[in-house]
């Protein structure tokens, strides 16, 4: 349903790579319109060469994050109404990641840091023929569960000033994942995860800004996870276990 009476939006979009400029487009307003829809409209109807990324369009793949009026967001789940200020929307690629083209960034550094933080399960009993019995109200399980549903969108990584000030910093998402593993009773190398986040650009570099918490679209709390890691890492270091 098109609704001409809703007027148009001025949409400023970053064009180019690291070097580039904003280009302004006029996009008709719709009652149901996400930021991703604005970008799609521009690519389909106004400038076919515009580059951006999305996949699921429902907030599970974490491909579509961009900076919208200065704030990193998942664009497929952000209604234009929520972000437009006096009919203007400014859309840029995520901060803290290399720009490939227009709105698409290279997310590899973000995932590389996940690995640096040993952000992967290390089996302790890979050949076991049964699934481990873990009561859901076990405190460790609860701790891990609270932090597990990360969609890897990079919004927190882009929102975190420490990442931009210390480019080596592992960042909120990688540390958050490490925290789930440290609390995973099935994991075979919990000490290994701690060691990984105790390296020079590890958990202790976080200053608790909480930009990550404020912006995580799925409501995770990386600050809490990082604080947990800091405690364990300090204890381990003082005990000489690292």
């Amino acid at each position: 349903m098109t609704n001409a009476s809703l007027g148009t939006l001025k949409v400023e979009i970053w064009r180019g790579a690291e070097e580039g400029d904003f280009e302004t487009f006029e996009v008709p307003s719709q009652p149901s319109q996400t930021v991703l829809d604005l970008v799609t409209y521009v690519q389909r109807k106004l400038d076919p060469s515009l580059a951006y990324r999305f996949a699921c369009r429902v907030g599970v793949c974490g491909s579509c994050a961009m900076t919208v009026n200065g704030t990193p967001r998942w664009t497929c789940r952000t209604h234009v109404q929520k972000v437009a200020s006096s009919g203007r929307v400014r859309i840029e690629p995520l901060r803290n990641l290399p720009i490939l083209k227009d709105l698409a960034t290279d997310m590899a550094p973000f995932f590389d840091k996940g690995q640096e933080a040993l952000g992967r399960f290390v089996p302790s009993d890979a050949r076991a023929s049964e699934v481990a019995t873990i009561p859901p109200d076990d405190p460790k399980r609860k701790e891990a569960n609270a932090a597990i549903e990360c969609i890897g969108c990079g919004v927190c990584y882009s929102a975190c000033d420490v990442v931009s000030w210390q480019p080596d910093y592992l960042g909120p998402a990688a540390l958050n994942r490490a925290w789930t593993l440290v609390n995973d009773v099935r994991d075979g190398d919990r000490q290994g995860h701690l060691k990984a986040v105790a390296e020079d650009a590890g958990c202790h570099a976080c200053h608790g800004h909480q930009n990550c918490v404020e912006h995580c679209p799925v409501g995770l709390n990386p600050t809490r996870s990082i604080a947990g890691l800091k405690r364990l890492v300090v204890m381990a270091a003082l005990k000489g276990e690292l």
Partner: protein, 110 residues
């Protein structure tokens, strides 16, 4: 040094824990001193009457030197482009200067 950043972090948080009660104490002292309108001789008389005061201020100075040097180093690393070895030495230098100045002052009240 292996895991230098982690140890600096630990030292900074550790020194902060030491500083907190001492700063409270110091705040109490200044409030008391300024409102009591004490003269220099009176203040010094009190501080010199027991070793507790110089000891407390000595600890304060040591902790503050560690804490502030590490703190400044982080700020400079994050807010400027200065982030190599020379910064480490500069921070160390800052800490030492702070320590020397502080010890001299403590000596004055001891």
């Amino acid at each position: 040094m292996k895991r230098l950043e982690l140890w600096l972090y630990i030292a900074q948080r550790g020194s902060a824990l030491v500083l907190a009660p001492l700063v409270l104490l110091h705040l109490g002292v200044i409030l008391y001193a300024v409102s009591g309108g004490l003269s220099a001789a009176e203040i010094l008389g009190r501080t010199r009457s027991t070793m507790l005061w110089p000891a407390a201020y000595g600890l304060f100075v040591v902790a503050a030197a560690i804490h502030a040097a590490i703190g400044l180093r982080v700020v400079v690393r994050e807010w400027t482009h200065w982030r190599n070895r020379t910064l480490d030495f500069a921070a160390l230098g800052f800490g030492l200067v702070l320590l020397l100045l502080g010890l001299r002052a403590v000596q004055a009240i001891a």
